[in-house]
Symmetry: C2
Amino acid sequence: MDRIVRIKDIAEKANVSTGTVDRVLHDRGRVAEDVRRRVLRIAEELNYKPNLLARALVTNKTYTLAALLPDPAADSYWQAPKDGVEKAENELKQYGVRVEQYIFDPFDPDSFSRAAEKVAATTLAGVLVAPIFYRQSLAFFNTWKRQGIPFVLFNTHIPDYEPLMYIGQDSYQSGFLAGKLLHYGCKAEATFVVAHIEEDVENSSHLIRKEQGFKDYFAQHDPDGRYRVLSSDLRRSESHTIAQQLDRLFQEEAGIKGIFVTTSKASVIADYLHQRQKGQISLVGYDLIARNLHYLDNGVIDFLINQNPKGQGYWGIHALADHLVFGKKSNPIKYLPLDIITKENLQYYIGADS
Amino acid sequence: MDRIVRIKDIAEKANVSTGTVDRVLHDRGRVAEDVRRRVLRIAEELNYKPNLLARALVTNKTYTLAALLPDPAADSYWQAPKDGVEKAENELKQYGVRVEQYIFDPFDPDSFSRAAEKVAATTLAGVLVAPIFYRQSLAFFNTWKRQGIPFVLFNTHIPDYEPLMYIGQDSYQSGFLAGKLLHYGCKAEATFVVAHIEEDVENSSHLIRKEQGFKDYFAQHDPDGRYRVLSSDLRRSESHTIAQQLDRLFQEEAGIKGIFVTTSKASVIADYLHQRQKGQISLVGYDLIARNLHYLDNGVIDFLINQNPKGQGYWGIHALADHLVFGKKSNPIKYLPLDIITKENLQYYIGADS
DNA sequence: TTGTATGCGTTATCAC
DNA sequence: GTGATAACGCATACAA
């Protein structure tokens, strides 16, 4: 029966007091060099592991984190990260971790800046942020870096200022995976479309990476030149609707067998395919939001690639806590699994944990 | 700043001592009814939540759990649950949870009985077990039930004695999902084969459920009667090899377009398809074991359905701890996600967490 | 029936 | 440089 090793055990074995051991273990100085080495050696020998519970109990520090999140009311996609953040907060409450949420409008860069401004005005232990506005984000990264406040990015990766961690998906690989899914569903000659919907593609590097991954998949799996990949930037304007654009696309291109939507808006294409009775066309998109799930259930959408948005919020907060509370260091990039969701396994991914 | 609510706070507000509050909160009796009600009301008002850290620190109880696991050396599939058990043990060590592993030979029922016998001879707080031998398991369930020892089942569900929890996958639904995957990959007329390999199908209800799910998928998605589903029980014997059986099958059935292997032995079929150069046939199986991964990488196996075996061990131990240490009750069935694995998203599922 | 005192392992503040 | 010691929130043995 190997009892747990306490500071007291080390102290007794080293013929010093617990205070001394504590100073050694925490590098607080004011301790003789020979004693230091002896204590360190014994701690090593006994394989001492601090009791985190006792530590959390006594330090009684509260770490206030900020979570800078897009408003779920504006885009329901962001509900899941928020849930994840709250789940982590609940788990970590007992360790003195608190999370303040700062919500911004995902369609308004100024709203992001205002929220980040508020964050910067508070004294915080760490920040979790979805930096969906590149330019607006940079200024704040700079501030936090200077102040030594660790920040974790999720959803969108901006490596410039070395965040403590990025959590999200590998955009390139997800496009590659989408290629596989469409390819598997259509082995005959075919044209596939990469559809960007209502997005400023030029300024969204992750969309470009998704497209690149998709194209590279076919570049690597098409020795006989049977597949063509088109890219289409669909945005409604005063002069035309998205449906009209698609009509034109299908008119010009006869052999379209599959569409890969790079955003969470696959339902827009599904709408169209459903109306036009184009049941034979495979459709792959992202994210388990209600509008998509409707068409997944219908069979109009074949697969959704899930970015585990809840997990992103959850692990983001956990990464900050690991760093601040537990002094653990972890990999600067955490890619969450690229879950393949169909109507048949959907049930296990909604409302579940982590 | 809402400070944390302690027992002491309740005590002060109710004009009693902490001891009294403690007795009320733990229903230990020996307390006046009016005081009891007052304390309860105030605790409610203040939204008192016990500090689990402090509790764990003071109770200092050690809970010894038994994990009855098949030997990974005999079948590498079982390495993952073992890893999951050990991961959970590590996390829960600080709460006084210890896990003793009892390893048995997954091909030898007697070995299981011997291991379970050892478990029964020890005094334990709870048991996690993969009851892969139905008959041999029942006797021990009975014992544990009588002794009031909670036990959690994983991998194989045997509801007879009401375990604290079953953790695993939904066999039926996984077969249904396999149907979808093969169907999506082949929309033209086709014959599909459900292959059971080296298994005593009659005594393996989960294999039957998988097959049923698969058949039901096509029953529901084949209005024009384009698909045929065959079931094939492949076992090598003195008179024939599995390859010979398959040769005969392909001879008799011309239109085979896909095979669903109900066990982790998809690599056996992959071997065959690879040798016979049958590249056009879709192949879906189970489990991320090395032999399968080889053919997944090859492209011979298209999809593997993952039962998250590591998660089964992990969550199994956690379920016991939640019950014993934290007094949480949870759902008696926890289905883990049916992960769809391809070559392209495999990397996120191996060596990762939970 | 109720209140008080002690200790869990750690940190932090003293006095020496 | 070092060693006592109080405190964190809770459970419990024991005194009243």
